[in-house]
Amino acid sequence: MLTRELVLSGGARGRVLSSSKDLEPGVRAMLLLAEDLFRLDIMIVGDALQTFVRNLTSGDLALAGEVGQPQVAITTVGLAARYAPGRADLRFSVGPEVGRITTEVTIATLRFPERGLIRVSAQGIVRPAG
């Protein structure tokens, strides 16, 4: 996993996390970890992509039911269509009222049927809520 601090508009501090794993169908694995904030696990069963957010803070976890449609869902170049690319987006907030943070995650998938694996990649942007 790669992590980098960000300076956001207005001077606020944020963080970007990214990771990629090759998973067998039905296997649950950690994809992103923000220390003391959250852990994001993922599992793929058939065509369904399941996410599990573990709240590591003392505040509540709030999942956004509606993230919104992307302007462009998937762009495929060259031979990529043979790997059945897919994507999913989620947004959630954790933490106490003061210092609450929101994370937007985009998850992308590729399927490698010859190896029986699915590549799951994610990028999450962590920023102060509000």
Partner: protein, 122 residues
């Protein structure tokens, strides 16, 4: 509406003196191509922006690419094959992106398969 972008690309890896094959391009952010000059497969990362581009490559470290320049990074051998994961921050456009590329066997020869996720930070 989410502004995050996902681009998937795959191409046969050119071998020898052939020019690197374009794999993924995020307009005005990053260009990624693959090549095998005979010394091993490598990723050619281009910076089309007007400022230097700082990228972090997993298990390698930070690399600075000068504006309108490029750098070459060899693939890492992992148990599942050759692969590279990098993260780039384009300060001029307030975007972050991650790129994952692996090399997959095929009847046509080695194929580089990549995926990029980009999103604005503002």
């Amino acid at each position: 509406m989410t502004d995050a972008v996902v681009i998937s690309g795959a191409t046969v890896v050119p071998v020898g003196t052939a020019a690197p094959a374009p794999l993924i391009s995020m307009p005005e952010l990053i260009d990624v191509a693959v090549a095998d000059p005979g010394t091993g497969m490598e990723l050619v990362i281009g910076n089309p922006t007007a400022a230097q581009l700082r990228i972090a490559v997993e298990d390698i470290g930070d690399i600075i690419i000068p504006r309108a320049g490029s750098t070459t990074v060899p693939f890492r051998a992992e148990p599942g094959g050759l692969r590279l994961h990098l993260q780039a921050l384009a300060a001029t456009r307030s975007h972050v992106l991650m790129v994952i590329v692996s090399v997959e066997p095929s009847e046509e020869g080695p194929i580089a398969v990549g995926q990029a996720i980009g999103a604005p930070t503002c």
